[in-house]
């Protein structure tokens, strides 16, 4: 890290940051609807977004500090193993194509705003709905934490983060300011703010990527040189470590891990509350499928950005904290003013998803915990107020993850969230296609998966940390190293199937299913499908 503050870069960064903050607050007036105090309005932007806005929103979820900081950092540290993010994003789209249109239909037919709403309506189980809600909120926190780590990396490289010796409050002050701005505009503008800022963010990101992947390789003497130097660096690293810890291609040992991380992450992604929020806010069922044909454009960018990890090695960037590798590369390679633009892209690219994620988690809390368990007769205004407050609480939770977990492998934050959210899959995806699973079996499976996943992740040590040091572990029975989330999911599914057989044999009450098969294929314009849903209270499960 260079000493002192990079003045020009910082000025450019602050300029963009102030600009998006203004946009954020003005967003409340964009496409304003008559009733701004309804949860639908604040939390789903009135559900009126078409292909383009939905595309930006979904892109805003998928391409975040994860893309810009965590994935290249993983490559910088371990080489090929970090590239699993590319197959991960490839696999996401066929999954979305298959699952989410059904969820859209049933949600618009019954006025569901969250996955918990659906699970409750489908299985008639408040307990299962609560489990799904709690998991969603919990899993979102480390994912938001990853965004904060990304912002912090940029601030550190610009020299405003302070070193290890600075008082923690001074060191974290810029992060706290960024955090406060994020919280304030989300609070006042809801989903409209990130949707509008997403345009600015994506514009900046495209620009920076285009420049980075053309300019940097030319300056470094082409990809041949880049990979040759990276290969040498990894060879030295493996020699020092005495075992293969990094390489240009995954070794035999790493292939199971690679595949399970890709698959597990893909399955997890679209179950996050924020992915569901983005999906449900689209105008029709068709918008979702159409989007899966254009969203992969983002995966290409992700792949190219991942290669920046190699470029950082080739450029001789030496950082102890891998997360700083890419911001540092930008600072070394670019003129100060463009480094500022790049930092702004990363910073805003982290803020937008953080806002979307916290809104989604807040919706979940309000609808499925506050209204179902705490205050069933809450007014729409009260619901919106609670959501706004919870969106703050979720961000504080994320901050707790940042301050307690190892920030040098930020990708683990996202993988930890994935371990948890994957456990809601049998109820959600299973429920979209069949009613065969028993609700109690689903709860049992969820509990087993959560317990196994958390204990297993807790037990993984890293060189810098005793617990939660990684997300992969030996798969029992197979003996290969694999993603804990996927192992826990399989365990979960086995429990669900076995328990369902048992409970059905015992004739345990299965609960009331308020949906019918045709609900899953209904489209906008069909009878009974609400294009814009009524306020949350009327649309609540059972209220229609």
């Amino acid at each position: 890290m260079k000493d002192g503050v990079n003045g020009v870069a910082l000025a450019v960064f602050i300029f963009f940051f102030v600009a998006v903050t203004v946009i954020g607050f003005m967003a409340a007036r964009w496409r304003k609807a008559e009733n701004e105090n309804s949860l639908d309005e604040w939390g789903l932007g009135g559900r009126s977004f078409g292909t383009w806005v939905t595309w930006f929103l979904l892109g805003g979820d998928l391409y975040t500090a994860y893309t810009f900081v965590a994935v290249p950092a993983a490559i910088y540290a371990a080489g090929a193993a970090g590239f699993f993010a590319v197959p991960y994003t490839i696999l996401v789209y066929p999954l979305i194509f298959t699952f989410l249109p059904r969820l859209w239909s049933v949600s618009h037919k019954h006025g569901y705003v969250t996955t918990s709403d659906f699970v409750r309506g489908r299985f008639g189980s408040k307990g299962l709905s609560l489990a799904v809600a709690v998991t969603g909120i919990l899993a979102t926190m480390p994912y938001i934490a990853l965004q904060l780590v990304g912002i912090q990396a940029v601030l550190d490289v610009m020299g405003v983060g302070g070193g290890e010796t600075t008082h923690w409050f001074i060191r974290d002050l810029p992060l706290l300011i960024a955090f406060a701005v994020l919280a304030a505009y989300t609070y006042s503008s809801g989903l409209r703010a990130p949707a509008l800022i997403a345009f600015v963010k994506d514009g900046l990101i495209y620009l920076v990527i285009a420049v980075a992947i053309i300019y940097i390789p030319i300056k470094l003497g082409g990809f041949d040189d880049i990979f040759a130097k990276a290969g040498e660096a990894f060879a030295t690293k493996n020699e020092t470590a005495g075992k293969p810890v990094a390489g240009l291609v995954p070794g035999e040992m790493g292939q199971w891990g690679y595949a399970t991380l890709a698959l597990g992450s893909a399955l997890a992604l679209f179950m996050y509350p924020h992915s569901i929020t983005a999906t449900l806010s689209s105008r029709s069922r068709d918008v979702i499928r159409r989007n899966t044909t254009i969203l992969p454009l983002y995966s290409l960018m992700l792949g190219l950005l991942a290669l920046l990890g190699f470029m950082a090695i080739a450029a001789g960037v030496k950082v102890d904290n891998g997360q700083l590798a890419i911001p540092q590369l930008f600072e070394n390679m670019f003129p100060a003013w463009f480094a500022g633009v790049a930092f702004a892209a990363i910073g805003i690219g982290a803020l937008v998803p953080a806002a979307i994620m916290s809104i989604a988690a807040a919706n979940l809390f309000t609808r499925n915990i506050y209204k179902d368990f705490l205050k069933p007769d809450a007014t729409p205004a009260q619901e919106t107020k609670v959501s706004k407050l919870v969106s703050l609480f979720v961000k504080v939770g994320a901050l707790a993850f940042v301050l307690t977990m190892d920030k040098t492998v930020a990708i683990n934050f996202q993988l930890l969230g994935g371990i948890w959210i994957l456990q809601t899959m049998p109820a959600l995806v299973g429920g979209l296609f069949t009613r065969w699973f028993h609700r109690w079996a689903l709860i049992a499976g969820w509990a087993v998966g959560m317990l196994y996943g958390t204990v297993a992740a807790y037990g993984v040590a890293s060189p810098t940390q005793k617990h939660f040091g990684g997300s992969s572990k030996e798969i029992p029975g197979i003996g290969e190293i694999g993603y804990i989330g996927l192992t826990a999911f399989v365990l979960n599914l086995v429990v669900v199937v076995v328990m369902t057989f048992v409970l059905n044999a015992l004739k345990a009450p299965t609960g009331i299913d308020e949906t019918s098969p045709s609900d899953y294929t209904a489209d906008a314009g069909d009878p009974g499908v609400k294009t814009v849903l009524p306020p949350a209270t009327v649309g609540a499960p059972g209220g229609h």
Binding site: A80, V86, I90, P94, F227, V249, A259, L300, G303
Partner: protein, 84 residues
């Protein structure tokens, strides 16, 4: 398989099988890691491992587009058949 629009259509049709294959293909390709875990042949200096997977971004996009188009046609035919 019957191509007629009369009566109830079977749930599994050749078109739907193709849609299914388009959606499954990326899983087979990407999860079979040993098929692409190698350096050679390189492309403009980028090892096979990396450019092959990026190529699959494009391939899977094309496959999803095919699936989408076929699905649209399938749905329209079904709706037309039902009202006729």
């Amino acid at each position: 398989m019957p191509e007629s629009t009369a009566g109830k259509r079977p749930t599994i049709t050749p078109v739907r099988v193709i849609i299914g294959l388009c959606l499954i293909a990326p899983f087979v390709a990407m999860l079979w890691v040993s098929s692409y875990a190698k350096v050679e042949p390189t492309f403009i200096g980028i090892p096979f491992f990396y450019w092959y997977q990026m190529l699959w971004v494009v391939i899977s996009t094309a496959l999803t587009m095919v699936a989408y188009t076929l699905w649209q046609r399938d749905q329209r035919a079904r709706k037309g058949g039902a009202s006729a």
